[in-house]
């Protein structure tokens, strides 16, 4: 039943939102090995962009370029241009700390810190000095948990460790943690792959709500999920961006044979 609800919201795609991020001729090398080849891609504001493609095609590599998480991998080299609101994120003048506050990320496996639920959400505001005082911090934590749809479940036990929550709750805690610093873009790399269908449905619902305020990029292996939650879809294959467009077009009317093969389940 949830799926049908989501199906319906997913289709209310709104064309013509502003461009939030743009990748131009993005290539990535891990040492000698090239993982991405001249990817041109656009992320629209207030839309969910899905990245799909067979395993190893470079989806994670691409999404990690958007907030420079690839910087933490010594052998990784990125070339090309990636802009956030027209500024190049790889420009030397850009502070990566600030960039990651604007472009948040949620990972495949829920990774709450071994701290209390409150401290997990307060982590970002604290390191960025966002909250002026205790009451403001409380406010941020509360609204973040509310936006992540977790508030009712945890409001009585904010002091308990975040690692004690269920997998689905942990993932929503990680989303709350990410939105606590008021990012503009949220990147999600297979956020539901470690969750059961009910927790997945909750996270999908949440993604759909978050679309009101953020640009969202989500990597997924589930074609149904891409169809349900996203307005735009990009199909990657062997490090190339094969096809990109409105989700309903990609799924009903793909131009490229490889896209068609993939979404009809012929490979991958």
């Amino acid at each position: 039943m949830d799926m049908q609800v989501n199906d319906a919201v997913g289709q209310t795609a709104t064309a013509g939102h502003a461009i939030k991020m743009r990748g131009e001729k993005v290539s990535v090398h891990y040492g000698e090995k090239q993982a991405l080849f001249d990817v041109d891609h656009i992320v629209h504001d207030r839309e969910v962009t899905a990245l799909i493609g067979p395993s190893g095609c470079g989806k994670s590599t691409y999404i990690r370029c958007l907030n420079r998480m690839n910087d933490t991998i010594p052998i990784c080299r990125v070339s090309g241009r990636i802009t956030l609101d027209e500024t190049d994120v790889y420009d030397p003048s850009v502070d990566v700390v600030e960039l990651r506050a604007r472009v948040g990320m949620v990972f495949q496996k829920p990774n709450p810190f071994p701290k209390s639920i409150f401290e997990n959400v307060a982590y970002g505001p604290r390191i960025h000095g966002i909250a002026a005082g205790k009451s403001e911090l409380d406010e941020i934590v509360t609204t973040s948990l509310q936006k992540a749809g977790l508030w009712d479940e945890v409001k009585d036990r904010l002091d308990e460790p975040g690692t004690g929550l269920s997998g689905g709750q942990q993932q929503r805690l990680c989303i709350a943690r990410a939105i606590a610093v008021s990012p503009e873009v949220i990147l999600m790399d297979e956020p539901c792959s470690a969750l059961d269908p009910i927790a997945t449905a909750k996270v999908e619902e949440l993604i759909d709500e978050l679309r009101e305020n953020y640009a969202i990029v989500i990597v997924t292996h589930s074609m149904q999920q891409a169809a349900r939650v996203s307005q735009r879809t990009a199909f990657f294959h062997l490090g190339h961006l094969v096809e990109e467009g409105r989700t309903d077009h990609i799924f009903t009317n793909p131009h490229d044979q490889r896209t068609q093969d993939y979404i009809t389940g012929r490979f991958g």
Binding site: V97, N111, F113, A178
Partner: protein, 458 residues
């Protein structure tokens, strides 16, 4: 002689093993898959039957036969021995054996020579009997095993069972030895506490056992208040941890999160080499380099530093335990999942923030237990303190003075000729018991902490 027999038995073991394997192959006519157990197990089965009974008999013989010999000699020479008391009787047997098999003889007489002759002949007879018995056992065992080998025979079960028994025996030896040591510590300590009240030992402020040197002296009892030793140990341990804690921890952080993999691959083993340096070498270093340095430095700035100071010993001991702290901390820091680091970086945290706010709190229990293990190592360390901290049982917290520790006092109490029932020597056991209890408690505590930490991630 026993060793020759053992060698032969080892040879037989190998031969029986090979023979058993071949036998297993031949009873199936080459169809190895018809065997219940792999041929190797049949080889082991045959070898066990050939050798183990013989080894049991050999062991029993070498323990029991000397006793039987003594008994026979004593009855044969009952007339001569009758007027001896127990120590004289033992001396008689010792001398007779020495005459027969070589060794130092106190004095010789007619009877002893005769007894020695008897020993020699009994020894020869014993060897012949033993050789025959072993040969019979080995042959019988081999025959029995040989006839039992058949495709359906469950050789694997037998071999596995024997291996298990052997393993149990080995661990029993280890455990029983430990229990024995602890018991002897406890009993000797009880004897000590019959002479010196427990309360005086644990809370007395005066330590001067050396006055009890001569038993005939009036007022020869020393005073055994161990507080100065505990304080000295605590002081030196504290200095050592103050040195090793920060250096070890920070180098662990550098190695695990900042250093390039190549550098880490070289630096970590190098640090661990420090742990392999014999402590007596550290002692040299402390006594000949560090202590004079501190004294010279102190003189320059107008402080009086004694030539054997707690500071020198503590600092060198700290250097010694750096690898414990750094290596164990490095392991626990590395065990913090990469996903937590990623999560923190993705929030826009810097490396230092990530380490301070995520990694160290997550690794804290492991780091604490690393520190505790290092402390228990420092508490038990002897050589450095003997060489660098001195023997004076001063009750002080001034690190520039000479102090002494529990371990050092144990050494000095037991060095030289001692009566083994004077309060002075027994005090060593009491100190040893205290040391044992403290390090045991520290280790158990550290283990607990580590266990709790493990539960968090696995």
């Amino acid at each position: 002689m026993t060793s020759v027999f053992l060698l032969v038995l080892v040879g037989l073991f190998i031969i029986a093993f090979i023979a058993g394997r071949m036998r297993a192959a031949s009873v199936t006519g080459g169809n190895l898959h018809e065997l219940h157990s792999r041929p190797t197990y049949h080889g082991g089965y045959l070898a066990i039957w050939t050798v183990i009974p013989a080894i049991v008999v050999l062991t029993l013989f070498s323990v029991l036969y000397p006793m039987i010999e003594d008994r026979i000699v004593l009855t044969r020479f009952a007339d001569a021995v009758a007027q001896f008391n127990l120590p004289e009787r033992e001396a008689f047997i010792r001398d007779a054996r020495a005459l027969a098999f070589g060794g130092i003889v106190s004095f010789t007489d007619e009877t002893k020579l005769a007894a020695a002759e008897l020993y020699k002949s009994m020894h020869m007879a014993g060897i012949v009997v033993l050789a025959l018995a072993l040969a019979a056992l080995a042959a019988g065992g081999f025959y029995y095993g040989w006839t039992r080998i058949a495709p359906k025979m469950r050789a694997r079960h037998v071999v596995e069972r024997v291996i298990m028994v052997a393993l149990i025996a080995c661990s029993a030896v280890a455990i029983l030895t430990t229990i024995g040591i602890v018991l002897s510590l406890i009993f000797e300590s009880i004897r000590f506490f019959q002479k010196v009240p427990l309360f005086e030992f644990l809370f007395g402020l005066q330590w001067s056992p050396q006055t009890a040197l001569r038993a005939d002296q009036v007022a020869s009892e020393g005073t055994f208040g161990a507080v100065p030793l505990f304080a000295g140990t605590a002081l030196i341990t504290f200095i050592a941890i103050a040195v090793a804690g920060p250096i070890g921890l920070f180098s662990a952080i550098y190695l695990s999160d900042y250093a390039a993999p190549k550098f880490r691959a070289v630096a970590k083993p190098m640090l661990e080499i420090l742990a392999g340096v014999p402590t007596v070498v550290y002692g040299f270093f402390a006594a000949l380099t560090v202590a004079p340095f501190f004294r010279g430095f102190g003189e320059n700035i107008g402080l009086s530093v004694s030539s054997e100071s707690a500071l020198a010993a503590g600092v060198v001991m700290g250097i010694m335990i750096i690898p414990f702290v750094s290596s164990l901390s490095d392991d626990v820091i590395n065990a913090v999942p990469q996903s937590l680091r990623d999560g923190s970086y993705a929030m826009g945290a810097t490396k230092a923030e990530t380490i301070r706010k995520v990694i160290l709190p997550a690794a804290l229990p492991g780091i604490v237990s690393a520190l505790i293990l290092a402390i228990s190592r420092a508490v038990g360390e002897t050589m450095i303190v003997v060489m660098a901290a001195g023997l004076a049982a001063n009750l002080t917290i001034n690190p520039l003075e000479a102090v002494t520790t529990v371990t050092v006092q144990i050494v000095t109490l037991l060095v030289g000729d001692q009566e083994f029932d004077s309060a002075k020597t027994l005090a060593a056991f009491a100190l040893g018991l205290v040391l044992f209890v403290v390090t045991l408690a520290l280790n158990i505590f550290a283990q607990r902490v580590v266990q709790r930490y493990r539960e968090q991630y696995e």
